[in-house]
C-alpha cells in the first residue's frame, strides 16, 4: 500500500483534487457549505500528501526523485514524465498551502456561483502542482497554460468592476509570452525528436540558435515573473481579482516565471543565459527600484502590494542571474517567502475590503485601534516584506544580496537601495492605515472571523520558522543547486 503511494506520489498529489472536483460536480449548487467543506478537506489531504513528499525526499541524491515515466502520446514521443528535485520540491507544498489559504479566505466572501468558484480553485491546484512536477515539455506546457483558464475565470467572474479588461489583459499578456516558448519547444522537438527535459539539457547548439531559444523561453518567463518592463498586467490583474485570485497570482503564478528560469532557461541554454545575464541583472535592479518608487505614491492598497511584488521578484531574478550558489538558494527561498508573505498581505487587504469595500489607503487610518489582532498580524507580514532579521524575508534577501555581491558588486549596491525604499513604502502604508486618529469610516469593524484568523496564522508561523531556522528549507536545495550551477560553468 505504502509503495503504491510512494511510487506514484506526485501523481497522487497532482490528481487528488479530481476526487473533490467530481464530488462537487455531482452536488447540487444549493449545498454551498457542503461544497466548501469538500474542497477544504480535499486540499487538506492534498497538503498532507505534499508534506509526506517532503518527508520522503532524499537530500543527498543528485537528480530527480519520485520519478514517474509512462508512455503517453507515443507518435510524438511525449511521455507522462514527472519528477522533483531540490529546485521544485518546495513549490509543491507551497501550492497546496496557497490553495488551502484561498479556500479559507473565500469562505464567506464569495457569495455568487460558489460551486463554480471552488471547482476553479481545485482545478488551479491541479495545474499548479503539475507544472512544478512536469519533466516533459509537452506536459509542462499543458499545465502551464492550463492555469490560465481557471485564473482567467476567477478574475473575470468574481473580480472587481474592471474585471473583464484585467482578465483579458492578463490572459493575452501571458499567452503572448508563452507562444514564444511554444515555438522554442517545437524547434527543440524537430531538432532532437524528444520533449524529455533530462535529454534536452545536455544538448549543444550554435550560439545564435541557443540565444534565440533562450530568449523565446525567457520572454515567457519574464512576463510571468513579471520583470520590468513587461509587468503592467500584474497590478491590473491583482487589483481586479478577488482575494483568492490575488493570493494565487502572488503565491504561485508569478513564481512559475522564476521557476521556469531556473528549471529550463538556465540549464538548457547556459551559454546564452550567461551572455544575457548582465541584461537581466540590470532589468532586475530596475524592477526593484522602479516598482518601489511606484509604491511610494500609490494610494490603492492592492496595487501597492502588487507593485511591491514586482520589486521583490526583482530580487529573485537578481539572485537567479548572478549565477552564484548562495544567491540561487536565496532566490528559490525568496520565492517561497514571497508567496507566503505577499499572499498573506493580499489576504489582509481582502479582509478589510470585505468589510469596507474600499481599497484606498486614505479611506483608512487608526485601524490598529479597531482591529488590534489584525493590526499585529499585518505588522508581522509588513516586517517580513521589508526583510527584518528574524523573519523569512530577511533570509531570502540576505542570501540573494550576499551571493550576488560575490559575483557582481555594482548590482547589489543599486539593488540594496530597494531595501530602503521597501521600508519606506511599507511603513508609510502601515502608518496611514493603522496609526493616527481613528478614521470614522472604520470605527466599527467586525473582528476577525475564525477562518480569516486561521488563514493568517498559518503564514505567520512560516514567517518565523523560515526566518529563524531556514536550514530546514535550504537543505532541500543544496545538492540540486550545486549540481545546476556546476553544469552551467
Amino acid at each position: 500500500m505504502e509503495s503504491l503511494l510512494l511510487n506514484n506520489l506526485l501523481s497522487w498529489i497532482i490528481w487528488f483534487p479530481l476526487i473533490g472536483i467530481l464530488i462537487i460536480l455531482f452536488t447540487d449548487k444549493k449545498h454551498e457549505s457542503f461544497i466548501k467543506w469538500v474542497s477544504l478537506i480535499t486540499i487538506i489531504i492534498d497538503s498532507i500528501l505534499s508534506i509526506y513528499l517532503l518527508v520522503n525526499f532524499d537530500f543527498s541524491k543528485v537528480g530527480f526523485q519520485f520519478v514517474e515515466k509512462k508512455r503517453w502520446i507515443e507518435f510524438i514521443n511525449s511521455y507522462y514524465f514527472l519528477g522533483v528535485d531540490g529546485v521544485s520540491i518546495l513549490f509543491i507544498p507551497l501550492s497546496t498551502l496557497t490553495t488551502l489559504l484561498c479556500i479559507l479566505i473565500s469562505w464567506d466572501s464569495i457569495k455568487e456561483l460558489v460551486k463554480e468558484f471552488y471547482l476553479a480553485l481545485l482545478f488551479t491546484n491541479i495545474a499548479m502542482v503539475g507544472t512544478f512536477c512536469a519533466l516533459d515539455l509537452v506536459i509542462f506546457y499543458l499545465f502551464w497554460e492550463a492555469i490560465l483558464i481557471p485564473m482567467y475565470l476567477i478574475i473575470g467572474i468574481w473580480g472587481g468592476p474592471r474585471r473583464i479588461y484585467s482578465a483579458i489583459k492578463f490572459f493575452l499578456y501571458t499567452f503572448f509570452g508563452s507562444v514564444f516558448m511554444l515555438i522554442g519547444i517545437i524547434y527543440l522537438y524537430i531538432k532532437f525528436g524528444t520533449f524529455d527535459y533530462t535529454i534536452l539539457i545536455n544538448q549543444k547548439y550554435p550560439f545564435l540558435v541557443e540565444s534565440l531559444l533562450f530568449l523565446g523561453f525567457a520572454i515567457a518567463f519574464a512576463i510571468k515573473v513579471p520583470m520590468w518592463p513587461v509587468h503592467t498586467w500584474l497590478p491590473d490583474a491583482h487589483t481586479e481579482a478577488p482575494t483568492a485570485g490575488s493570493v494565487i497570482l502572488a503565491g504561485i503564478l508569478i513564481k512559475l516565471g522564476g521557476y521556469g528560469f531556473i528549471r529550463f532557461a538556465l540549464p538548457m541554454f547556459p551559454q546564452a543565459a550567461l551572455y544575457f545575464s548582465k541584461l537581466f541583472l540590470v532589468l532586475s535592479v530596475i524592477a526593484i527600484i522602479y516598482a518601489g518608487l511606484v509604491c511610494l505614491v500609490e494610494d490603492d492598497l492592492k496595487r501597492l502590494i502588487a507593485y511591491s511584488s514586482v520589486s521583490h521578484m526583482g530580487f529573485v531574478t537578481l539572485g537567479i542571474f548572478s549565477f552564484n550558489p548562495i544567491a540561487m538558494k536565496g532566490a528559490i527561498l525568496q520565492m517561497i517567502n514571497h508567496g507566503i508573505v505577499t499572499g498573506a498581505l493580499f489576504m489582509c487587504v481582502g479582509i478589510v475590503y470585505d468589510r469596507t469595500h474600499s481599497r484606498s489607503i486614505s479611506y483608512y487610518g487608526g485601524l490598529a485601534t479597531s482591529m488590534p489582532v489584525y493590526a499585529a498580524l499585518f505588522m508581522v507580514f509588513t516586517l517580513a516584506s521589508i526583510g527584518l532579521p528574524g523573519t523569512n524575508g530577511f533570509i531570502g534577501e540576505f542570501l540573494i544580496l550576499l551571493g550576488t555581491f560575490l559575483s557582481n558588486k555594482t548590482m547589489v549596491v543599486f539593488g540594496a537601495t530597494g531595501v530602503i525604499i521597501g521600508a519606506a513604502y511599507m511603513l508609510w502604508l502601515y502608518q496611514r492605515v493603522f496609526f493616527q486618529e481613528l478614521n470614522p469610516n472604520i470605527a466599527k469593524m467586525p473582528p476577525l472571523k475564525i477562518n480569516e484568523l486561521t488563514a493568517l496564522i498559518l503564514p505567520t508561523i512560516l514567517v518565523f520558522w523560515i526566518g529563524l531556522y531556514p536550514n530546514l528549507f535550504l537543505n532541500f536545495m543544496t545538492t540540486s543547486v550545486q549540481n545546476l550551477l556546476m553544469n552551467l560553468k
Binding site: V297, I326, L402, L406, A416
Partner: protein, 657 residues
C-alpha cells in the same frame, strides 16, 4: 597584546543563554496574554525576568573577571555553501561590561515605568515592547558574528520604532517612528554592504575568524569607480554607515530628536543608555579592522566631532526639555566616537558606561517633571516649569547629580570618563588628537551650560505651571524616585571603576578591557604634570559653563532675551537645528516623491509602457478591422486571393532555390 590567560569555553552555557532569552520569554507571554489576563500587573513578568537576567549578568561578569571567555553557537542559523553563521554568544570583557550595564539600567527603567506608564491603555504593550528591546539589545551585544549583530541591530531598531510610535494615534509620534526607522535603514544599507564586503574579502562573518584573517587584507586595494580604495577602509566605512544611523551621528542624526515623541522611559533606555550606543560598541568590537585604516580613524573622529559640536550648539536653544537632553545625547555620543577616532577605545567604552547612568537619570528626572505636568498641552516645555526645587526634592537632587556628572565636575562619573577621553586625545598618536582635544574642551563648556540651563529654569525661580497641576506640585511616587536614586548612585560610582592612576586610582576598567581593546594609542612618556594641567583645564571648562548658565538664567534673566534678539540669525539657525530637516525634505523627500509620481508612474508606466501594450492591442484591432474589408463573402474574390498566394509562394520558392 593579551596579558592575561583566558580560559575559553565553547560549550553551550545555559546561564549565558538565559540572559537574553528570559526577557524574550517575558515579552512574548506579556504580548499574547497581557491584555486579557495581566492588565495592570503586566509589568511583573518582565521585571522579574529582567532581574534574573541582571543577576546572571553579574555572575557571568565575575566569571569573566576571573578569566573565562564564552564563545559558542546555539545553532546554525544560515548555512549555504561557504556561508555559515550561527546564533551564538561571545562573552568577553567587552560584552560582559555591556550586558551588566544594559540589564542594570533596563531593570531600573522597567521599575520606573510602573509609575510613569501607570493607567495607560497600552500598559501591557509597553512592557512587552521594552522587554523585547532588551532581548535584541543583548543579542546585539553578545553576538559572535556580524549577521547576528545585524539581527540585534535591526531588532532594536524595530522596538525603537514601536516605542517611538507607542502613542500611535498621535500623528507626530507615528511620523517620528517612521522617520527613525527609515533613516536607520539608510545607515543599514551601508552596514549590509559592509557585511557583504567583509564576507567577500574575508570569507567569514565570525569576529574571531575576521580578526585572524585581517592581516591578509591589510595592504589590499580594490578599484571602486576608478579609485584605488584600501580594503579595510572600505569595509570599515560601510559598517560605520550603520553606526552613523544607529548612534545618530551627523548626517543621519535627524531622527533622534524626533524620537522623543516616545514615552520618557523609552527615551531613557533606548535613545540614551543602550541602543544609540550600539554604534560605539560596534566600532570598539571591530577596532582591529578600523585601526588598519588611518583614514577611517580620521572619519570616525571627524564625524564624532561634528556631531558633538553641532548638537551642543543646538541644545541651548530648545525649549522642549527632552529635546535638550536628546541633543546632549548626540553630543555625548560624539565624544565616544571622537575617543574611538583617536584610538582611545577604552575611554570611549568607559564614557559609554558612565553616560548610560547619568543620561538615563537625566531623562527619568525630566520624566518625573513631565509626569507632574502631564495635563499641560506641552508638558515638556521648560518655560512652564520653574521653582520645583522645594516641591520635588528627590528629582532635584538626583537631576543635579546627573548634571554635575555630565558637566565633568570632579568626583562624579562623567568627570573620569570625559577626562580620560580628552587626555588620551591630547596624547594620541594620531595627528588630529590635539584638535579633538580642543573641540572636546570647548564642547565640555557648552555641555555644562545647557545642562545647568535646565536645572536653573526647572528648579529655580517661580513655578509657572500652576494651571496644569491640581493643588501643589508634588514629588513623583516612590516607584519612580527609587530608580532615580539608584541611578544617581550609579552616576557617581560608575566613574570609580576608572579612576586614573595619576589620581591614585587603579583604573580597573582599563585593566579589564585591555585584553579586548588594547592599550590606548598614545605617544609614550606622558608626564603627570601635563595630565594634571589637562584635568584642570577640563574642570575649568565645565565650571565656566555652569557659571555662564547661572549668569544668564539666575543672575540676569534679561540677558537671555537680549542674546536671542541681538544675534537673531544665528539664534534662528540653531533653533531650527541647522536646517537639516528642511534640507532633507527639499533635496531628498520631495524630489523622490515627485519623480515617482510624475516620471515613474505618469510618464513611464502609464504612458510609455501601457501605451505600447494597449497600443499593440489597438493595432491588432485596427488591422483586423482593415482586413475585414477583404472578407467579402464572394467566391470569385477568394479564388483570386488564392491564385495570388500560390504565385507569390512559387516565386519565393524558385528564388530561394
Amino acid at each position: 597584546m593579551v596579558e592575561k590567560q583566558f580560559e575559553l569555553i565553547t560549550n553551550f552555557d545555559i546561564y549565558v543563554f538565559l540572559i537574553p532569552f528570559l526577557p524574550l520569554l517575558a515579552s512574548i507571554i506579556t504580548l499574547i496574554f497581557g491584555k486579557k489576563y495581566f492588565r495592570d500587573k503586566a509589568h511583573l513578568l518582565p521585571i522579574i525576568a529582567l532581574f534574573f537576567s541582571f543577576l546572571l549578568s553579574i555572575k557571568v561578569l565575575i566569571e569573566v573577571i576571573n578569566g573565562k571567555i564564552y564563545h559558542f553557537d546555539i545553532y546554525t542559523w544560515m548555512f549555504a555553501y561557504n556561508l555559515k553563521v550561527g546564533l551564538g554568544f561571545l562573552v568577553d570583557p567587552l560584552s560582559a561590561a555591556m550586558i551588566t550595564m544594559v540589564t542594570c539600567v533596563s531593570f531600573l527603567i522597567h521599575v520606573y515605568s510602573v509609575g510613569y506608564m501607570g493607567g495607560d491603555p497600552g500598559y501591557y504593550r509597553f512592557f512587552a515592547y521594552i522587554s523585547l528591546f532588551v532581548f535584541f539589545m543583548l543579542m546585539l551585544v553578545l553576538s559572535n558574528n556580524l549577521a547576528q549583530l545585524y539581527l540585534g541591530w535591526e531588532g532594536v531598531g524595530l522596538c525603537s520604532y514601536f516605542l517611538i510610535g507607542f502613542w500611535y494615534q498621535k500623528g507626530s509620534a507615528s511620523d517620528a517612528a517612521k522617520k527613525a526607522f527609515i533613516v536607520n535603514r539608510i545607515g543599514d544599507f551601508g552596514f549590509a554592504l559592509g557585511i557583504f564586503s567583509a564576507f567577500y574579502f574575508l570569507g567569514t562573518l565570525y569576529y574571531n575568524e575576521i580578526f585572524s584573517k585581517l592581516p591578509e587584507i591589510a595592504d589590499k586595494y580594490i578599484e571602486v569607480l576608478g579609485y584605488e580604495v584600501h580594503v579595510p577602509f572600505l569595509i570599515a566605512f560601510l559598517l560605520f554607515c550603520g553606526a552613523m544611523g544607529k548612534s545618530a551621528q551627523f548626517p543621519l542624526h535627524v531622527w533622534l530628536p524626533d524620537a522623543m515623541e516616545g514615552p520618557t522611559p523609552v527615551s531613557a533606555l533606548i535613545h540614551a543608555a543602550t541602543m544609540v550606543t550600539a554604534g560605539v560598541f560596534m566600532v570598539c568590537r571591530l577596532h582591529p579592522l578600523f585601526e588598519l585604516s588611518d583614514a577611517m580613524m580620521f572619519i570616525v573622529a571627524f564625524i564624532g566631532a561634528i556631531t558633538c559640536f553641532m548638537s551642543a550648539s543646538i541644545a541651548p536653544t530648545q525649549f522642549d526639555i527632552k529635546r535638550v537632553i536628546a541633543y546632549s545625547t548626540l553630543s555625548q555620543l560624539g565624544y565616544m566616537f571622537m575617543a574611538c577616532g583617536v584610538g582611545a577605545f577604552i575611554a570611549g567604552m568607559f564614557h559609554l558606561l558612565t553616560h548610560a547612568y547619568f543620561k538615563a537619570l537625566l531623562f527619568l528626572g525630566a520624566g518625573s517633571i513631565i509626569h507632574l505636568l502631564h495635563h499641560a498641552p506641552d508638558p515638556n516645555d521648560i518655560r512652564i516649569m520653574g521653582g520645583l526645587k522645594k516641591y520635588m526634592p528627590i528629582t532635584f537632587w538626583t537631576l543635579l547629580i546627573a548634571s554635575l556628572s555630565i558637566s565633568g565636575i570632579p568626583g562624579f562619573a562623567g568627570f573620569f570618563s570625559k577626562d580620560e577621553i580628552l587626555a588620551q586625545a591630547f596624547f594620541s598618536k594620531y595627528p588630529w588628537g590635539k584638535f579633538i582635544w580642543l573641540l572636546g574642551l570647548i564642547v565640555a563648556s557648552m555641555t555644562a551650560f545647557y545642562s545647568f540651563r535646565i536645572i536653573f529654569r526647572a528648579f529655580f525661580g517661580e513655578f509657572k505651571g500652576w494651571e496644569y497641576v491640581h493643588g501643589e506640585p508634588h514629588e513623583s511616587p516612590r516607584v519612580m524616585t527609587i530608580p532615580l536614586i539608584f541611578l544617581a548612585i550609579g552616576s557617581i560610582v560608575a566613574g570609580w571603576i576608572g579612576i586614573p592612576e595619576v589620581l591614585g586610582g587603579k583604573n580597573h576598567i582599563e585593566k579589564f578591557l585591555v585584553p579586548v581593546l588594547g592599550h590606548p594609542r598614545i605617544i609614550h612618556e606622558v608626564s603627570h604634570s601635563a595630565e594634571y594641567l589637562l584635568m584642570f583645564l577640563s574642570v575649568l571648562a565645565g565650571l565656566f559653563g555652569i557659571f555662564l548658565a547661572w549668569l544668564i538664567y539666575i543672575k540676569k534673566p534679561e540677558l537671555e532675551t537680549l542674546l536671542s534678539k541681538n544675534v537673531r540669525a544665528l539664534y534662528t539657525f540653531l533653533y531650527r537645528k541647522w536646517y537639516f530637516d528642511e534640507l532633507y525634505h527639499y533635496i531628498i523627500v520631495r524630489p523622490t516623491i515627485w519623480i515617482s509620481r510624475k516620471v515613474v508612474v505618469a510618464i513611464t508606466d502609464n504612458t510609455i509602457i501601457e501605451g505600447i501594450v494597449n497600443g499593440s492591442a489597438r493595432l491588432v484591432n485596427i488591422t483586423g478591422t482593415g482586413l475585414r474589408i477583404l472578407h467579402t463573402g464572394i467566391v470569385n474574390h477568394y479564388s483570386t486571393f488564392i491564385l495570388i498566394g500560390i504565385l507569390v509562394y512559387l516565386l519565393v520558392y524558385l528564388y530561394l532555390k
